[in-house]
Symmetry: C2
Subunit: 355 residues, 2 copies
DNA sequence: CCAGCCTGAGTGACCGGTCACTTAGATGAC
DNA sequence: GTCATCTAAGTGACCGGTCACTCAGGCTGG
């Protein structure tokens, strides 16, 4: 019966289209009356192929609905036309925005970008990363997450890698994404509005971004000769941020709060309201992230907007540069990916601090 | 020089480890003194293999740091141990949460889950989806996005597919994610608090989710014998939501606003404040999404929290069921993925409506 | 007029696994 | 004791492309 079926299949496909659906390069060759190698050359856009044949092959490809098998191509060949972006396996919202930005750039280049996530325990993950990089499926890979593979091992692999770690293996942002230097502009902007005494609500200091924002805060306070009531670690908890503001001694004269992100800033606003302080009348408060509600809540939040898509575009361009041409250095891309948005939660320092 | 290098490479690897790094199944076989097929059987955990050989092969695998080549495996074989989740190529935050949930389930199963995004113009995308499904790289694929491939074509493919479209090709959620039935509970909950006259701030009606929420709103109003001032289309714009609330005639007696998402709800709160109405004193307002700021802003938002991770776990289980065992129907998973969170933005209906 | 070179095309091996079939030896039934 | 069956392992083809090499014919040049 197995045999019978195979026979019937064979007769059914005797024309051309192979037994399991997809036509192969050899089917195309047969129909066009050329060798399989000629078809391969055609697919590689080899110029040493006569127009007449080119036309015949084109017709055969069309007729058989032929499309090359990516896997087979990856097996021996080099050119797969595919790039990969390795995303962290958590819920980092921004990584999707990065991806969207990268996709946009790659689309016009003839390459296809695939995003992939590798989960599992770190050890297994490292293995799978190596697998992936050695599989030849992709011509180049950019890792948005720490790869947990020893560098020397990485070099020995078949596929070039860009390490653009935006998140470490625990989903904490690092690298450019963790760069807190905008905090300096927030502080100096508030100083221009007359603020002299600040407090910083820090995030979870296990995160590079929280550390960076705290450092920049402290440096800026020092370099501008301002006064800091201190740094209060809130571990990304809005409740703790609110309590911290609630506990500020009136005598301290704090008029500006630099929160490590929007969530803490919102918590701080709540804490201020609870003790009867108005924002920004008595207290100015800043956040970071530009959450989609930050512009709508009351008061709307002065914050730092991060252009993840731009970061994605940069990574994509790096990838393209790695695999081939795409030479033109992007002229427009010297801008930083962060931008301050001043809104209602900040204002002039009160003449006499609340208390 | 190229030649020289190749020579040195060859001498370096002359022992076993193949010329381009990775050891193959035949290298392992040679070292263990068995045939390549025996190694293949070992890898497939074939029981018909003697313990002695098993041990020898194990040692060889270890010594050569051998790991199977996924691509080669996909070429002829069936079992690749990989599943894929096809994500929409936009910035849908929740798809990452879905992914995180799915990853968790798959991890313990011996399978590996990969998330991938396919960008580009719809036509090209459809092609690439077919490529993917035909490549044999994955044993099963779940599409979180509309695939844009004709169903009959899908069936003919090599890889089984689960269509769990949570987003259509324009990133608009459909399917379970678009199910707006929780709106009914919001409305009846508010009715219990004495509200009788409602208004609905609808989202962009191009989105299935917005449509569904509106429908459920209208049905519930009708079935409970309540009164609706109407449906105001806001297209996800918080400004329009605010204006809509600002334009409510006082005589209409509206005391409850059902907004299609948190952004609109926040806009509505802003609109209420602008005209001197308090929330929830004069007006109760609900949202949808449970944005991370919704619990912190003032007033905190009564909203619908969507458990995307649970949805992801479900999809993962479906995938596993498709490829093999993993039979036990999850006992705990009859719960819906949405849940109402009552917060400060809702309260008893005012005795006399504002106006 | 023929050696040498370039052009257009073909032949067969190969990538690294798995599948289908075969085979040597051990075991069991009659 | 012989034949059938089972077990443990091997042999070679194959998946669908690309690479390395070969080859026939047309052109050029001396």
């Amino acid at each position: 019966m197995d045999l019978a079926r195979r026979d019937s299949e064979r007769s059914l496909v005797s024309t051309e289209t192979a037994r399991r659906g997809r036509a192969t390069i050899r089917d195309v060759a047969a129909r066009a009356g050329v060798s399989h190698q000629t078809v391969s050359r055609f697919l590689r856009a080899d110029p040493t192929i006569s127009p007449a044949l080119r036309e015949r092959i084109e017709a055969a490809v069309e007729a058989l609905d032929y499309r090359p098998n990516v896997v087979a191509r990856a097996m021996r060949g080099r050119r797969t036309g595919r790039l990969a972006l390795l995303l962290p396996s958590g819920e980092a919202i921004s990584s999707l925005e990065i991806l969207a930005g990268a996709t946009g750039v790659v689309e016009d280049s003839g390459y296809a970008l695939e995003a992939l996530t590798i989960g599992g325990p770190p050890a297994a993950r490292a293995q799978r990363v190596v697998d992936l990089l050695d599989s030849g499926l992709f011509e180049a890979v950019a890792g948005l997450t720490a790869l947990e593979v020893e560098p020397e091992r990485l070099v020995a692999l078949r596929t070039p890698v860009i390490l653009a770690p935006s998140y470490d293996s625990h989903m904490r942002s690092v690298g450019e994404l963790a760069d807190g230097s905008r905090i300096a502009d927030l502080v100096s902007g508030l100083a221009d509005l007359g603020h002299t005494t600040f407090v910083h609500l820090a995030g979870d200091l296990e995160h590079a971004s929280a550390v960076s924002r705290r450092e920049v805060y402290l440096e800026t306070i020092a370099s501008l000769g301002l006064h800091s009531y201190g740094v209060i670690e809130c571990g990304w908890s809005p409740e703790r941020a609110g309590d911290a503001v609630g506990a500020l001694p009136g005598a301290a004269g704090v008029t500006a709060v630099i929160a490590a992100n929007d969530k803490l800033a919102a918590g701080a606003i709540r804490g201020a309201a609870r003790r009867g302080w108005t924002v920004p009348g008595d207290l100015s408060i800043t956040g970071w992230d530009d959450n989609e509600l930050s512009s709508v809540m009351m008061p709307s939040l002065s914050t730092v907007s991060v252009d993840h898509a731009r970061l994605g575009r940069r990574i994509a361009r790096d990838l393209l540069a790695l695999v081939d041409a795409s030479p033109a250095a992007p002229p427009d891309d010297e801008e930083p990916i962060t931008r301050i948005v001043w809104r209602e939660s900040t204002g002039r320092a009160p003449v006499r601090p609340a208390g």
